[in-house]
Amino acid sequence: MPSLIDFRRRIRSVKNTQQITKAMKMVAAAKLRRAQQQAVQSRPYAHLLGDMLASVAAAGAEDCDHPLLAQRTEKKILLVFLAGEKGLCGAFNGQLFREGQAFLKAHAGKDISFEFVGRKGRDFFRRRKVKEAGEWTNVLVSVKFQTARDLAKKLADGFSAGEYDAVYTIYSEFRSALSQTPIAKRLLPLKPHNEDEQPGMREEFIFAQPAETMLARLLPRYLEIALYQAMLESAASEHASRMTAMDAATRNAGEMVDRLTLTLNRKRQAAITTEIIEVVSGAAAAS
């Protein structure tokens, strides 16, 4: 039977934990805001780039055979797996792992290697003995465009050299602070055509460089920004997920403290009552 002291200790310990989860929630919220802001700021660039690609494509560079557009039978696949850097973020990492395993199942029999972004994905799949192409850890804590650039260069080089026939990515799409869904997307070969583009709206451009050259320069940029945005979304999802998880943990700790306090008070009351009865009955016996 736990004594009153034990109860007090327990309550104190739960309160300490609650303070930690509360602090983690605040930190996650601040980081989420930053990641979201970064994502918003990258949007004009991505939008303009899409526009320019469409202009160039419309100007007759459509049927050029740039290495990044080359369609091949998918035998060797590279999977860029973006997961969290840390745990304690609810179902975030677990959902991504499940998506990853589903991908492996769906592409069974093909030669799949993994490029890990974020520590957790690496830890999980390393234990499952998959082929590793490389890892980028500690890059999602604060997402830098340079990282996306380096990664894009590596992917583009590998793809152009025929090391891979396709490059996919799995990352967590940021819908809102409350909803994030893991998705698998193909990165390479690129398909730069916007479906919602209306033909005839485009003006005839003078090209300072041939359209093919422009396309060759624009496509890698497109890959870079796609990766950058995926990284930002993934980071934002991680923070959002952690925020929600820590919020729930803080609430649970609060409930637990209330429950424990109630039991503690009851026990204390019972002890006092027993004592009074003892005194009274002692007095009654004496008289």
Binding site: S42, M52, E203, R221
Partner: protein, 136 residues
């Protein structure tokens, strides 16, 4: 509005400018080009350098590294891998970066390092140029 250009400058880190301007000079890959309102539609690649635009007679400067420019009669859009306003602190950093990159180029190093160092030199020079220009 007839004699104005709407200039937009965006980099992955954010949009720098979205304003009405009188003219734009941009560092195209084969030399500076000037754009006035009514320019024919043009698409070009940009190198590292200084983008200058004038608002009510006052020139302003942005350091650019690698980008693209799309001009239309009343609109100029610039995409840059990196673009920044240059202030005194930035200039100090650029000087240090230039020094470091030049040191690397001075030694015999691997090919990929040379590429990086050359890019760093170009970026730092663009910033220094922009600073010089903005001080007249």
């Amino acid at each position: 509005m007839a004699n104005k250009l709407h200039l937009e400058v965006a980099s992955p880190e954010g949009s720098l400018v979205s304003e009405e301007v009188d003219d734009v000079q941009a560092p195209a890959s084969d030399g500076y080009i000037g754009i006035l309102p009514g320019h024919a539609p043009l698409l070009t690649e940009l190198g590292a350098g200084v983008l200058t635009f004038t608002q009510a007679g006052v020139p302003r400067h942005i350091a650019l590294v690698d980008g693209f420019l799309e001009a239309q009669p009343h609109r100029v859009r610039v995409l840059a891998s990196s673009a920044s306003w240059v202030d005194a602190a930035e200039v100090e950093r650029a000087r240090i970066a230039l020094q470091r990159a030049s040191d690397i180029l001075g030694e015999h190093v691997m090919e990929e390092d040379v590429e990086d160092a050359e890019a760093a030199v170009a970026a730092a020079k663009a910033k220094l140029d922009a600073w010089e220009k903005s001080r007249g």
